[in-house]
């Protein structure tokens, strides 16, 4: 042991003697062995139970929200009644008032025709309606 170590040891031994004066007796320490505080455990248990309850409620709530159809969750806003357009005074009284024609309602679905069907009409439609046969001339098709 070096002199440095001897000096440190003597310091620690002086502290040890001072500590020994403070040390409680063995009997006191032994007889006052810790007893668990029941209230402390109960408190910890209650806090844990509260956390578990909150968790369960949150989970149930999340499941319930998922089961409701979205159209019930998001209510479509009701459109307010449309007020009649104000009469514009600047329009001359002599100007013809044109109203959009009401669309003709077909009596059945077989009569219905697309509004843009006329765009598909071409001059040679009748040529395509008939099937040419071998031996006929092109001029005879048009007749």
């Amino acid at each position: 042991m070096t002199s440095d170590e001897r000096e440190l040891k003597s310091l620690f031994q002086a502290v040890r003697e001072a500590d020994a004066q403070h040390a409680p007796s063995f009997a006191r320490t032994w007889n006052a062995m810790p007893h668990r505080d029941r209230l402390g455990y109960l408190r910890a248990l209650m806090v844990t139970a509260a956390f578990v309850l909150v968790g369960i409620l949150a989970t149930v709530n999340a499941y319930r929200r998922r089961e409701i159809p979205p159209q019930q969750l998001v209510q479509a806003p009701v459109a307010p009644p449309v007020a009649p357009a104000p009469v514009v005074a600047a329009v001359p009284a002599t100007a013809p008032v044109t109203r959009p024609k009401a669309a003709k309602v077909p009596s059945s679905i077989s009569e219905w025709r697309s509004p843009t069907a006329s765009l598909l009409d071409v001059p040679g439609d009748d040529l395509l309606d008939t099937v040419p046969t071998i031996g006929t001339s092109g001029s005879s098709l048009t007749e």
């Binding site: 409680p24 063995f26 320490t29 062995m33 810790p34 007893h35 910890a44």
Partner: protein, 176 residues
């Protein structure tokens, strides 16, 4: 080991164990840590199997208990961990001690608190408890090589700190 024999062994070690508990834990919690360690030994949570000396083994128990006690400090502050009734029963009384002894203890506590925990523990075990490095390593649950490293570094650092300590002369006089 029989309970009566256990008690006799613990009683013989009591003062040294208290000093070790002071070094391992907050001084205000030292007695509580020691009581919890006794309880562990009594109810069989810590069992002596004769692989080292009883003192080394029990110091290991105290060290582990002090570590658990530090971990519970936060929960204790939040009052989520039950307090031990013994704390209220066995509060250390005020004991008269000489001014020099009080100053010495405080100065050493202050100085040692500046050291890392492992260095502080190994120095305490070697110089205060007079254990060998091998025994200290066993009590600290570290290898002998590791204990030696902590010992060398701790000794050097403690020497530097004691040079700066204003009461170092008194300390040396008390230690001489």
């Amino acid at each position: 080991m029989e309970p009566t024999e256990l008690r006799a062994q613990l009683e013989a070690l009591h003062t040294e164990s208290f000093g070790w508990a002071l070094a391992c834990s907050d001084p205000a919690r030292a007695e509580s840590v020691l009581q919890q360690s006794y309880l562990k030994v009594l109810d069989g949570r810590a069992r002596y199997e004769g692989r080292s000396s009883f003192k080394t083994w029990f110091f290991g128990v105290v060290r582990n208990t002090a570590r658990e006690d530090r971990r519970r400090a936060l929960w204790r502050k939040l009052r989520l961990v039950p307090e031990e009734s013994a704390e209220r029963v066995a509060r250390p009384g005020v004991i008269e001690e000489s001014l020099l002894a009080a100053e010495l203890r405080q100065a050493m506590q202050r100085t040692l608190s500046l050291l890392p925990r492992r260095q502080r523990e190994v120095l305490h075990l070697v110089f205060y408890q007079e254990l060998t490095l091998e025994e200290a390593a066993a009590a600290m649950s570290v290898s002998v090589g590791s204990a030696r490293t902590h010992y060398d570094r701790g000794k050097k650092r403690l020497r530097e700190l004691l040079e700066k300590e204003p009461v170092s002369h008194d300390l040396r006089r008390a230690g001489a």
